[in-house]
């Protein structure tokens, strides 16, 4: 059962399920069982960007001029997003790579997780730009109860899966006595943990990010903190792609063709998944309350943000074939859509004047001096 970095067995990759089949051996992308993951990898690679490409110099001035309660909104959102991307930058790798069985899916997980590390790096870039001592912001992430509370609901599914898989890979299925404690390892139970983890990741990508996105775009709608909004726009574009990835996995399982047992589990867990969505929506609404505790900002308040959370929760539930749970039918923040359009994102490295843009460029200036030490 132990993980094999290179599985020497010869097997038909097309007969493997997405997870809990054979460990992947050859990373080949010429054929795929699920072409969608190959497309996602290519799309994600085409999206590549770096935070340093976005000029934040006016944001520094803008931030100084923000009233205190808006500074609180701005920084709190960054803290929360830093937490989410800290989790997403590593957990898909740690939790999913040991059990994945398809090369295209394995690479998608790595590509997905890598792009989250770019997001984390951009938060540092933003925070460093507006705050002289970034440590005060980063330290608060593990001290602030409003943030840690939500960290718990995000990570518990990941941790349960990781713990279960490590026992499975060490001891295999069955009942074992470890440190005088009886532990039962059951593959179906692990698959259940995997399904719930994916549902909770889906919620993370689909709902949890969007309260912060809305605030960042609301700042930029009144022409302040625009560099930040440009970065968040790039992040939102990536997140929409990651969301599509988790939606595909959930839907492929639900159809039951990939792994019949997963199909059964998907049907069994329906109400549990709805609760994960509901809990996340409630937590995000509470978060909106915390954000606006000292006053709201122009264009946004706790009520509208709450309705927006309900609206996107409904939308995301419908996308994975579930019934909606809130009565909100209309998008209360229709202007956000224009910030989420992919082709409006412009990264112009030649404008940002960064030296690394010249990687691979050739110095084409040639003068007579250059031939001075030439001998034929």
């Amino acid at each position: 059962m132990a993980y094999q970095t290179f599985n020497k067995k010869k097997f038909d990759a097309f007969s493997q399920p997405m997870f809990f089949g054979e460990n992947v051996n050859v990373s080949r992308y010429d054929t795929q069982k699920y072409k969608i993951f190959e497309s996602l990898i290519e799309k994600q690679l085409s999206f590549f960007w770096r935070p340093e490409e976005v000029d934040l110099s006016t944001d520094r001035k803008d931030f100084v001029n923000l009233p205190e309660h808006e500074k609180h909104i701005f920084l709190s959102n960054l803290k929360y997003q830093t937490l989410l991307d800290s989790i997403q930058g590593r957990s898909p790798n740690v939790a999913l790579l040991p059990i994945v069985s398809l090369p295209e899916l394995e690479t998608w997980i790595e590509t997905w997780s890598f792009s989250e590390t770019i997001h984390s790096r951009s938060y540092t870039h933003i925070i460093r730009n507006v705050i002289s001592d970034p440590a005060t912001v980063f330290n608060d992430i593990i001290e602030n109860e409003f943030i840690t509370k939500r960290a718990e609901s995000v990570t518990k599914y990941y941790d349960a899966l990781i713990a279960g898989v490590s026992l499975y890979q060490s001891f295999g299925e069955g009942t074992h006595t470890i440190n005088d404690e009886k532990v039962t390892v059951n593959l179906r139970d692990l698959k259940r943990r995997l399904y719930l983890t994916m549902a909770s990741v889906n919620v993370l990508e689909a709902i949890r990010f969007y309260v912060s996105f809305a605030c960042s775009f609301a700042f930029a709608e009144r022409a302040t903190m625009e560099g930040n909004a440009k970065i968040i726009k790039l992040i939102a574009r990536d997140e929409a792609l990651h969301l599509t990835g988790t939606q595909h996995m959930l839907q492929i399982w639900a159809l039951g063709k990939d792994d019949p047992e997963m199909g059964e589990i998907a049907a069994e867990c329906k109400s549990e998944v709805i609760e994960i969505f509901r809990e996340a929506a409630e937590q995000e609404k509470e978060w909106a309350q915390y954000l606006f505790k000292d006053g709201s900002m122009i264009g946004l308040n706790q009520d509208i943000l709450g309705q927006y959370v309900e609206y996107i929760t409904n939308q995301r539930l419908a996308a994975i074939g579930f019934d909606t749970i809130f009565s909100t039918k209309q998008n209360p923040l229709p202007w956000i859509n224009s910030w989420l359009v992919s082709d409006n994102v412009q990264v112009a490295p030649q404008e940002a004047e960064i030296s690394s843009y010249l990687v691979g460029a050739i110095d084409s200036e040639v003068s007579v001096d250059d031939f001075m030490d030439f001998e034929l």
Binding site: Q315, A319, I320, Q330, S342, D343
Partner: protein, 157 residues
């Protein structure tokens, strides 16, 4: 140094490229310009690369013209909307609906987020690019498709 000297002695011809060296005194840093009849090359350029129309001038319509074929007009019906709607010139179904004041939720407009998912009750569409978002049976992504027949749609939400 010694090693290098030995090598030179072994190979009295000196350094050679992997093919016979031709004593070519016409060394150019840039490839030589081939003189050609300027009038001829202009015609070639026009024929090969330039579209008949100035691409900068506003186009009367956005759809590619198929020679000798009338641009089809497809009727669109949306549940709960009484006005008659049509698809004629737009680049995709989403743009067409927006132009007729029907608001469909959207995000990426490139087919990967699934934000514009709409129920297709009747009719057939053609995708201009392969949609990446998950689409359930009976759903379409208006941002990246055009109608092939008259359509009957039901908006989400």
């Amino acid at each position: 140094m010694l090693a290098m000297k030995d090598k030179d002695q072994d190979n009295p011809e000196g350094f050679q490229l992997d093919s016979d060296y031709h004593d070519n005194t016409d060394f150019h840093l840039e490839s030589p310009v081939i003189e050609a009849d300027s009038a001829v090359s202009e015609i070639l350029q026009t024929e090969l690369f330039l579209p008949e129309q100035n691409p900068e001038s506003p186009e009367p319509d956005d759809q590619l013209e198929l020679l000798g074929l009338e641009k089809p007009i497809h009727a669109l019906t949306i549940e709960g909307v009484s006005e008659p709607l049509k698809f004629h010139f737009a680049n995709n179904l989403l743009e067409s609906l927006e132009a007729q004041n029907i608001h469909v939720p959207y995000q990426c407009r490139e087919g990967y987020c699934g934000g514009c998912r709409t129920d297709l009750i009747e009719g057939e569409v053609a995708y201009l690019q392969e949609p990446m978002a998950w689409i359930n049976e009976g759903e379409i992504l208006p941002c990246c498709c055009v109608p092939k027949t008259a359509l009957r749609l039901k908006l989400k939400g």
